[in-house]
Symmetry: C2
Subunit: 196 residues, 2 copies
DNA sequence: AAGTATTTACCGAACATTCGGTCAGTTGCA
DNA sequence: TGCAACTGACCGAATGTTCGGTAAATACTT
């Protein structure tokens, strides 16, 4: 039996600490969460956390990377970079919805970052790259005549991804439908309008 | 010369403390802001703040009330309660955009509240009342046949106001257009679709 | 199989620092 | 002189983190 597949007998590991910590961060906010809060949620004492992870900010950093890696993968895909802009945009929006749902707690945390520390500033920098990509994509779609000319592309980007990002504020995997159903509704409403 | 119009020779008053504090709260987050941070932004010492306001949480409470009073006014208006639902919905959306822009820092703060204290829980309770109203409004519009029947009204509510609320994340009064132009773009995109 | 060594996962106490808040006193304009 | 506006020293509590110690599980040796 290899080391990697060996069954852990009990207790926590860095992964379980991260996933529980991110849950608490999203409930109380990162700054509003104390190591005591995390310890309570993990069922151990404060000091035990430091056996598994280097500290509070490292937990944040790992969580934010997980969210940003997901979004980076979307805009790096070939389907985001070739073809008619309006089709690429629709694909990117759908993939973003899927990513938000897949990595819900991590993206939720990312979208609340304000740049209070170097860790947060680095995350904001990576997020700005993503924003620049989709902003450019909407401009291309407008230039190709696929978007109503009376709508400012920059504003459309903001509002469109405002709707997408709002998913982290209310979507709950238990009750809500699948990511694809969600994406269908979102794309229909924003691309074709909710009015009959 | 009355007390209210009397010119204050120098220094701060509860109002100026609140508006500067809310600015800092939005930059660093409420929990991430110390009274020392506020003092620095106000150009006084920490203790001087307590001459004008009772404490940190009272600042939050006053700011949240200011946002919630604005939203309450929208859904209390006669134009939100009589007429075809789809027209009431459009009016409410437009008024919300206007309110968000008018009271940008206060609403920004409100939309980030997670319920960490009694003050925050009370604000969330008032906000839920607002959400219930608009949710009901979308259902009425759907029942009147004004919304595409393939769209789930609950989802539409979430996404529509997700776009509206996102305004607090990126709108800056200096560079951005007027609230009405913003509302036009938002309503056109979500009601009629961005696709040409 | 028995005995020893090492690792894993944790606790409880303490650390320096920062927190929100208090209070007696000082300043400067009317 | 009186009072509004503020300072600076300070308090107890809470913060993130470190440290010494430890019981149990595993690995190594005979």
């Amino acid at each position: 039996m290899s080391i990697t597949t060996r069954q852990r007998r009990r207790g926590h590991d860095p992964e379980s600490v991260l996933s529980i910590a991110v849950g608490v961060f999203n409930e109380r906010g990162y700054d509003g969460t104390s190591m005591e809060d995390l310890a309570r949620a993990l069922g151990v004492t404060k000091s035990a956390i430091y056996y598994h992870v280097p500290g509070k900010e490292q937990l944040l950093a790992r969580a934010l990377d997980r969210a940003l890696d997901g979004l980076s993968a979307v805009v790096s895909d070939e389907r985001a970079t070739s073809g008619p802009a309006i089709e690429r945009l629709e694909w990117v929006v759908r993939q973003c919805v899927r990513t938000l749902v897949d990595r819900l707690p991590y993206v939720t945390l990312l979208l609340r970052v304000r740049g209070n520390s170097v860790t947060e500033q680095h995350a904001l920098e990576r997020r700005r790259e993503f924003d620049a990509f989709v902003s450019h994509l909407v401009k291309e779609a407008a230039a190709e005549g696929s978007i109503r000319p009376d709508l400012d592309p920059a504003l459309v980007t903001r509002l469109l991804f405002g709707a997408v990002n709002s998913i982290t504020e209310w979507y709950r995997p238990a009750s809500g439908g699948s990511a694809d159903e969600l994406a269908d509704t979102l794309v229909t409403m924003t691309f074709d309008g909710l009015r009959l």
